[in-house]
């Protein structure tokens, strides 16, 4: 298994208080590319979350709302690794990934 830490980053660098991803829409996924196994995005606290995944290649994306430290809300998108050609491999025991969010 691979313990993956995700760090969410807003384009303007403002601090994130919390962010959760609704897994209902089809466009929100964290998926093992080979087994097609789906994982739920964990809740981001202070812009950070950790999840244990089976080692493999992953595609991932989401649209969601987040709350900044100053209490404001922003609608964001993450789609950098959303297609197989850009799959991200998590094949070590640990990994970290910076999630570069785009404000919508």
């Amino acid at each position: 298994m691979c313990e993956v830490s995700f760090y969410a980053l807003l384009p303007d660098g403002r601090a994130i208080k919390s962010m959760s991803v609704d897994m209902t829409p089809e466009g929100n996924f964290l998926r093992d590319m080979n087994t097609r196994q789906e994982y739920d995005w964990p809740v981001f606290n202070a812009g950070k979350c950790t999840i244990t995944l089976r080692k493999g290649l992953y595609i991932m994306a989401f649209d969601t709302k987040l709350e900044r430290e100053d209490g404001t809300v922003a609608k964001v998108r993450f789609s950098e690794f959303s297609i197989p050609d850009k799959a991200r491999d998590f094949t070590g025991d640990t990994a970290s990934l910076t999630i570069k969010l785009v404000e919508l």
Binding site: N34, T35, R54, G56, L57, P84, A87, D89, T91
Partner: protein
Amino acid sequence: MRKALSFIFFLLVYQGLIAQRINDRSLQRLDPYFGIAFGHTDYYSVTSFLLSPYANYSEAFLTGDYRREDRAFLPQYGDGYMGVAFNAASMIRTDKFSAVQGKVEYSKGVKKNVKWNETTDFLLLQPYVLADSLGGDMQSEKYEFSGAYSRRFGKLIAGAELGYRAVHEFRKIDPRPRNIASDFGLRGGVSYILGRYCLSATASYRKYHQLQNVEFYNPIGANAVEYHFTGLGSRYQRFDGTNNFTTVRYKGNGYGLAMLLSPADKGNLFAGVNGIMLKIASHLPGQNEVPVTELSIKQADGFFSLPFNIDSFNSAISFKFLYERRDGCENVIDNAVEGSYNVVKSLQLYVSHNADASLDALMEKNGLYIKPNVGFNYYRASYVYPMRLASFATLRFGLSGGWLKNFGKWMTSLSLEGRYEANLMQDLELPERYTEKVILHAYTQMFDGFCRNRFLLGASARVQTEINDNNALFLATSFSQWFFPSDKALLAKLSIGITF
């Protein structure tokens, strides 16, 4: 004890002094007292047949084979079979110091209503098999031969054996798997006579190959989904589907080493151990032969048999054990951006353990015999993530008995068998979230079916008549009925042949 020791000596001289007429030789082959001692030795030693008491013997026969199960015990082999087979086997002592033996088999038949498996040699290759969601009859054709030669040089005996098996299986309607499997085996070994006993060592090599291709001819489109199973209902879903990934190649190599201790003069203990290691990888020929899985099979087995005499009864006890471990690795395959599929990492995700032990006893007098036995089996398979688990334990008790009699020109053999197999425990844990509903249902059903308590009642008979001193015609039949709590299964065979 003296009687027991002299029995072995008697066996060793038996071939030359007594077993001359064909009915005598057949009787010797069928005798369970010989069988409990020498029935295992060929498996553990490539040279043992030279020292065995068996006289020259050849037979050729045609068999009709029928199986019908109300509910499939192992759906991957279907709920029935109907076929014919031709078999020939021979063991000939070419001179005082050497012998050859060989056998050939050709069989052709139909496995009825095969489900959740399209791969030939399911039990060898599981859990990494290709399966469809529909099932259907599978046509099956098998060619098999083996030949062995053994020669004695003073106290040293050397031998070698070569074997080959080819299987062709296909289905006549969509989905249409076509599988061609070939299985080559080579064994070589030496034995050395150490006083009362002979110690044998045999090394073996095995090469396995299967090419499997599934096609759909219906112009409307595919009527089933193809699954690449990876154990306990999990799949390599990236390659599921009906288009590009339905050709699979299995390639494997294996090695083994076996030791056998058997009587050479006045000893009476038979004991053998065997270790086998076999690795089989599955590849996708359409995707630059990328290896998808690798299965590593390790097996250890052994036995001992001790023939002895109680009063005027020929008696024996025999103990057998087997342990098999399967480790399955799945390869993480890259995104093939440049058109070539490459392995990024190999993950060990599947492991299974199968342990089996059985104890047999035999008492025989004047051709009448009884053979009680008791056995235990434990199986456990697990998948690392998402966690899946299957385990069960079975205890079995059986009693068989029979009668062999030579009436001069006629010879007959009758036997009856009863066996009860009781399930002691069963546990199946499959994650609902990560298992497709139809697969979850099928696996639960299969597992429940496999863990049913069951009772077997079987009977077999053989009648043989001599044409002359060296040739005989025989007719043999066997019927077995399995009784499950709410259903039954029937197995029947009828053979006609000649022996010489």
